[in-house]
Symmetry: C2
Subunit: 335 residues, 2 copies
Amino acid sequence: MTVTPSAATTDGPAAPCAPEDVRRVACVGTGVIGGGWAAHFLARGYDVTAWDPAPDAAVRLRRLIAAAWPALEQLGLAEGASQDRLTVTSTLEEAVADAQFVQESAPEKLDLKRDLLARLDAATPAGTVIASSTSGYPMTDMQTEAADPGRLVVGHPFNPPYLIPLVEVVGGVRTAPAAVDWAARFYAVAGKSVITMEREVPGFIANRLQEALWREALHMVANGEATVAEIDASITEGPGLRWAVMGPMLTFALAGGEGGMAHMLDHFGPSLTSPWTRLEAPELDRALYDAVVAGCEEAADGRSIADLVAERDRGVIDVLRATGRLPRSAEEAAR
Amino acid sequence: MTVTPSAATTDGPAAPCAPEDVRRVACVGTGVIGGGWAAHFLARGYDVTAWDPAPDAAVRLRRLIAAAWPALEQLGLAEGASQDRLTVTSTLEEAVADAQFVQESAPEKLDLKRDLLARLDAATPAGTVIASSTSGYPMTDMQTEAADPGRLVVGHPFNPPYLIPLVEVVGGVRTAPAAVDWAARFYAVAGKSVITMEREVPGFIANRLQEALWREALHMVANGEATVAEIDASITEGPGLRWAVMGPMLTFALAGGEGGMAHMLDHFGPSLTSPWTRLEAPELDRALYDAVVAGCEEAADGRSIADLVAERDRGVIDVLRATGRLPRSAEEAAR
């Protein structure tokens, strides 16, 4: 990722302040996601202005933040962080009037997003980057009505934004590359873990993965193949424990034993034609085989299979302990 | 689950010993999964006999167990547990001759599984339950060649079997219900977390879910939409942190705010028609809507949304700490 903090380009936003210098963040839309963002930014020491059209939005937002605060205290608040630095405004325009960054978290309706982003663009100081929390709409489809689409980016978080580090950052065809870089840098400064995507894909990365899982789960419920409780337990007692530690690709590489991902694909490749999900697999041709094997080697970054196994084992044991599935120490286990 | 530990039925196995009385376990096939099972059973204090046709199988198996042993010591070994209680035999027949439970973990090839299970059935003492680690074949398809198919069950583990608690237990059409119950009880005694399925579905539950995710990931790699490293990071920094704590259904219920799963479905139901994955969703008709909402309420088991949010937050913070993403204490964070 190339970061150009305050580069004003002819087709991009006017120079915003440097990501490190941001003090004032606006959160527009304060439901579960927007409220979670507000809690996150407050905990990181920002001044937060917030607006939401719902009549009881202020009460609900303050309740959400108060409920999250003990968790945020455990995470460690930034110096000066306070719930008192939240200002709930009565208009959208007031919320963004002095904002150095805007996070939009409105309901997932395309027309609404289009109009709202245009309104935000009109009301926000020139040069300030505006990010959308959209779960899956490409910015290209949302930035159509804005006068300055160059500063509009997707900054897709995961619930709750104050705890789950990931933010996926991607621009639309009319977004200035500098705005994408600025947003990625800002989120990193604000304590998030950033993936910057080179191109738009509906649902981005993580939502495509969890949406596939979710749809398969819905099929199983619809067909009476598994209950909601069984689906949840099958993940928390199974693959979920690994996925907190190691992603699905490297995890599967370890199923190949000392032969790693290549051996795994040799062994389980034929299963891609099995009816183990309603999702048809791509053809495992040479190019895909090589891309997956090379990608795993790159991700392993010099760690041997034995290293990765040891790392996974340590991680899973820590997660088992942390989530109360194991005694915290061997001494307790011996009791 | 109804457990009938030693019930001999006319169509079932001859009375096996009670699950609690098992001392001798046979592991047939000792690759990553079979070797992981051997490590698990040794750590739980069983005598383990093992056989695998590969010429260097004994060396590799002992190496795998030695590598796993430090992790198993951390988990807490059962009294008397020792790597010395492993006997690698030179024939399949020797491995199972005195076994009180057999775990088959051969490569994922249907013909091979069919023949092997028939051979195991012929060589194993009458009444001893034989379980297959198959990743997805229904037992109905694998038990076709065995003289006593009634004692053949699926006991599907997750890699590594010595760390990931889940085992999915399910019988085929010719499996005696008592054998399914016995296996479920035995695995629980042996320290596993068991889901007993009422009916066969290819891939069972968790593999259907992770196979959907895996296939979507392969599509993304094939199309150049995401790299292997991005796919892994999108899970470990995102949904994977939640899934160690709370399954995908309850996790999504919390995206609905105080309205829970019903509100989530109202809000995100339309996304099921979005191209956020290659997997087509089922129609979200009234029956499915009601089943998902009721299932989440049942799984919540009296916990309010606020309770679940607090539980998730505590769990994710513990997982963040355990996996080194956060300082271990607020004091460290303040430094």
